[in-house]
């Protein structure tokens, strides 16, 4: 294996031939470089997209800190090289290496991928291959690192089951330590030639850690129609169903942010103010899988921001959550942040604001000027669709809020919409166009002809572990027709900018988000056929995917354009975010009837979180969780999460 020195020498000869060589050299302030030989367990964390996107990922930052705080372990980082760099690395025989020590990833004991979205799957395979690590789990032996993965998309890990040794389901900050301890034991034992503790054994040990899923110890069985009949463990003493991990209380946020030496996408300090969301929007994967809502105290957030700005010097602050307006003390937080950082040329971003005038007050406290835009997400434009997706914002609220935003001096508003729900008609899409026209017409009344509107229209993708896991996707023809309608209606106004991805763009995500184990071969072949960077125009290859399906005799429509049977066993049935399938199904039926479920801060709908984590809840009473107090939450025992729905 190449030494760090050899890798550096080789890099010197190629770096000036690639775009942005600063992506590949490390040396950032606040990165942690430990003495390689002084620690027992070495972990490499990989964000399998380019450096520019990966560096600012908060999830990996948390894990990087967690591991580096241990005396007996170190954590380093790697990202997917862009196409130009990959070609040169392959040509010059440079394996993918970690930025801190410049050691090949294959030298590490544990390689952890974050897979927040499905379009990174082919990249993950490519990263393994470029690192000289066998892509398939079954081909790895005692000499190879253990490959783990986590992140939102792994709530359905099955399409990646053949490549990842162990998945972490849910939140990683505690379980990572348990995994390192297990790997530690394997390392110690492997030095003893007489040891009988092998890779298989460490994997078995991992499979017994709550929240860890080791796919090779589970078997999926299928019915004649191609759907799953049942999924079963093949070894004793491992759970039939893997329940996600959650931390009872958010630990103090990271404050030593890595400061890149080149421009990246998010040059900022990001502090999570709250995890989880109580809104219950039915299309929202994050909202379903990150429950319960846990807030960080205002003072803890402000202190973390101060420390992080002091140690990084970043020019921007982001207060992260799925729904900022729902943070209990949002006004106090924003006031304090405004006082602390006002006039210091720092930009503060507060994403995911509710459509109401209070949001404008909040933004005004944070902005020295109104040069940036104001982003809101109505998602749908008819009452019918709003009821279906459970995001109910009346037209009048949207008009009043946007008019007020223009009146108070912002010239650009960005509105996010979603098209492609199977219940959506062309009338519903027409309403999106009408609403946009009304927003801009009202804006002109108060702020003149300079007002601008950006409408971002995304294609709905049904996700596992959500109430829409039963529904089918729109066909490409339907998507194209809906997009054409919007283009026809809105394309003429120079002050309305319309953006959407092509109908094909979202397909790999759609196939994979509800994919089964059979999809793993499709992922493998699509990657072999040259697909990578599936979220990028430069990388994705629609045809490579289609021919991969053909090669394995699978039909892409089976995964996308098929309404699931109500009693269908899903490929991810053995993985749970602690939100019961019965709850999701009930919510799905309510969506068909246009019934709304209000914010569950006020009214518990028994999604399953409280009984699953009853013990944890008892140990952390009061305001730590935003779930309302319900009587004897331990009483409702989830009898059998593998049973069919509707029972």
């Amino acid at each position: 294996m190449l030494t760090p020195k050899e890798i550096e020498n080789k890099l010197d000869h190629i770096l000036l031939k690639v775009q942005k060589p600063g992506r590949y050299v490390g040396g950032e302030l606040n990165s942690t470089i430990k003495d390689w030989d002084s620690v027992q367990t070495k972990v490499a964390f990989v964000f399998p997209d380019i450096y520019d996107i990966g560096v600012s990922n908060v999830g990996l930052k948390i894990l990087y800190d967690q591991v580096n705080q241990r005396d007996d372990a170190l954590a380093e980082r790697a990202y997917a090289p862009w196409l130009d760099m990959e070609a040169l690395m392959r040509q010059h025989g440079i394996p993918l290496y970690a930025l801190e020590s410049k050691r090949p990833l294959a030298c590490f004991d544990l390689v952890g991928f974050t897979l927040p979205y499905e379009t990174l799957y082919t990249n993950a395979l490519n990263v393994l291959d470029l690192a000289g690590i066998p892509v398939r789990s079954a081909d790895r032996d005692e000499t190879h690192p253990i490959i783990i993965a986590g992140g939102h998309s792994t709530m359905n890990p099955e399409p990646m089951h053949a490549f990842i040794d162990a998945f972490v389901i849910g939140e990683g900050e505690e379980v990572i330590h348990e995994i390192i301890d297990a790997v530690h034991k394997w390392k110690v034992e492997s030095r003893n030639p007489l040891s009988t503790f092998h890779r298989k054994d460490v994997l078995q040990q991992l499979a017994r850690i709550p929240g860890v899923y080791v796919p090779q110890f589970y078997e999926a069985n299928y019915l004649d129609d191609g759907t799953v009949s049942h999924i079963e463990p093949t070894i004793p003493e491992i759970p039939k169903v893997i329940t996600k991990r959650v931390v009872a209380k958010l630990p103090p946020p990271p404050t030593k942010f890595i400061v890149p030496n080149i421009d990246i996408v998010h040059n900022r300090v990001s502090v999570e103010i709250m995890r989880g969301c109580t809104r219950g929007c039915r299309f929202c994967h994050a909202g379903m899988i990150t429950r319960p809502v846990r807030e960080r105290p205002v003072d803890e957030v402000v202190e973390a921001l101060e420390a992080a700005i002091k140690s990084s010097g970043f020019e921007e602050i982001a207060l992260l959550s799925l729904s900022s307006s729902d943070y209990t003390n949002v006004l106090e937080l924003v006031t304090k942040v405004g006082e602390k950082f006002g006039g210091t040329h720092l930009k503060v971003s507060l994403p995911s604001l509710r459509i109401e005038s209070v949001s404008i007050d909040l933004m005004e406290k944070l902005k020295d000027n109104r040069s940036g835009g104001f982003t809101l997400a109505p998602e749908a434009a008819t009452e019918r669709m709003r009821r279906i997706i459970n995001k109910f914002i009346p037209d009048e609220d949207i008009i009043n809020t946007t008019r007020e935003i223009y009146a108070r001096g912002w010239t650009t508003i960005k509105l996010y919409f979603m098209i492609g729900h199977p219940s959506e008609t062309l009338e519903d899409v027409q309403a999106i166009a009408d609403l946009c026209k009304r927003v801009i017409a009202e804006g002109r009344k108060v702020a003149g002809m300079r007002v601008k509107l950006n409408a971002g229209v995304n294609t709905f993708i049904p996700k596992s572990q959500t109430p829409f896991q039963w529904v089918s996707c729109d066909t490409p023809e339907q998507i194209r027709a809906k997009q054409a309608l919007l283009r026809r209606e809105l394309g003429r106004d120079r002050n309305i900018k319309l953006s959407f991805a092509t109908a094909e763009d979202s397909f790999s995500e759609a196939w994979l988000s509800r994919g089964d184990r059979k999809m793993a071969e499709v992922v493998y072949t699509a990657w072999k056929n040259g697909s990578k960077f599936d979220a990028w125009q430069e990388g994705k290859k629609y045809d490579a995917w289609i021919s991969a399906f053909e090669e394995h005799g699978l039909d892409p429509l089976f995964y996308t354009h098929r309404q699931r049977r109500t009693d269908e066993v899903f490929p991810w049935e053995h993985i749970t975010a602690a939100v019961r399938k019965n709850f999701l199904f009930q919510d799905f039926r309510q969506s068909l009837e246009g019934q709304i479920r209000v914010d569950c801060r006020f009214d518990c709908f028994a999604c399953g979180i409280l009984p699953t984590f009853a013990q944890m809840r008892r140990e952390n009473p009061g305001d730590v969780w935003m779930c309302p107090e319900v009587k004897s939450p331990g009483r409702k025992v989830i009898s059998n999460r593998l049973s069919v729905v509707g029972d």
Binding site: V25, G26, G27, N261, S311, S312, G313, F314, E315
Partner: protein, 207 residues
């Protein structure tokens, strides 16, 4: 208050470009709580300027940056304070106060000295001959980005020393010699070398 910072730029930081370097210094100033001055307007920019852009991949021991502060600031200990939180590869060697009315830094650079580390296989006597022949030429016509120019008058001095070449090139606005062009004339692939800027020469400050 206007301060002048001299610093080196090495290691991984060789791959940080001119614009990104501005950002790096803005962040360094924020970490050190320096009262950096900003321009007025819709997109306020920090008031700072670098003497001469350093090409990507080059290291340097002599970069110079002027920074304007909103108010006076004690400079004692600032070098150490900045160095504590600068990424490895950037090291401040000196900080001094300069006259507010002094001309812009970029307009004062006249020459730059570069040291080029050569690949091991280079033949010293052959190299000497090439250097002599280059220096003996009346003109060296070159083309860069579609523009024809004469490189010869931009070379102030050029000599081989052990496994190194040292050259002094013009670095005035609109007349800047590039070391990789000189290396090309000498038949040396610049990718095989390591180039370091070792001196920036400023015109005697005449206002």
């Amino acid at each position: 208050m206007r301060i002048r910072i001299t610093f080196s730029k090495q290691g991984a930081l060789r791959y940080t470009g001119h614009l990104d370097l501005h950002k790096l210094w803005e962040r360094a100033a924020r970490r050190a709580e320096l009262p950096l001055a900003y321009s007025q307007g819709f997109h306020p920019q920090p008031k700072m300027s670098l003497a001469a852009a350093l090409p990507l991949g080059f290291s340097s021991t002599c970069e110079v940056l002027d920074m304007r502060l909103e108010r006076d600031f004690a400079l004692d200990g600032l070098t150490e304070q900045l160095n504590e939180t600068l990424p490895p590869g950037i090291r401040v060697t000196s900080i001094e106060q300069v006259d507010e009315r002094a001309p812009a830094l970029q307009t004062q650079v006249v020459e730059a000295e570069y040291q080029v580390e050569l690949p091991e296989q280079a033949d010293p006597s052959d190299l000497k001959r090439r250097i002599e022949s280059a220096l003996a030429s009346e003109s060296i016509l070159r083309e860069r980005r579609g523009k024809k120019y004469d490189l010869r008058p931009l070379i102030e001095s050029l000599e081989a020393m052990d496994d190194k070449i040292v050259m002094l090139l013009a670095a005035r606005e609109g007349a800047t010699g590039r070391p990789e062009e000189v290396l090309d004339v000498l038949g040396i692939a610049f990718e095989e070398t390591r180039i370091e800027r070792t001196r920036l020469i400023f015109s005697p400050a005449k206002v």
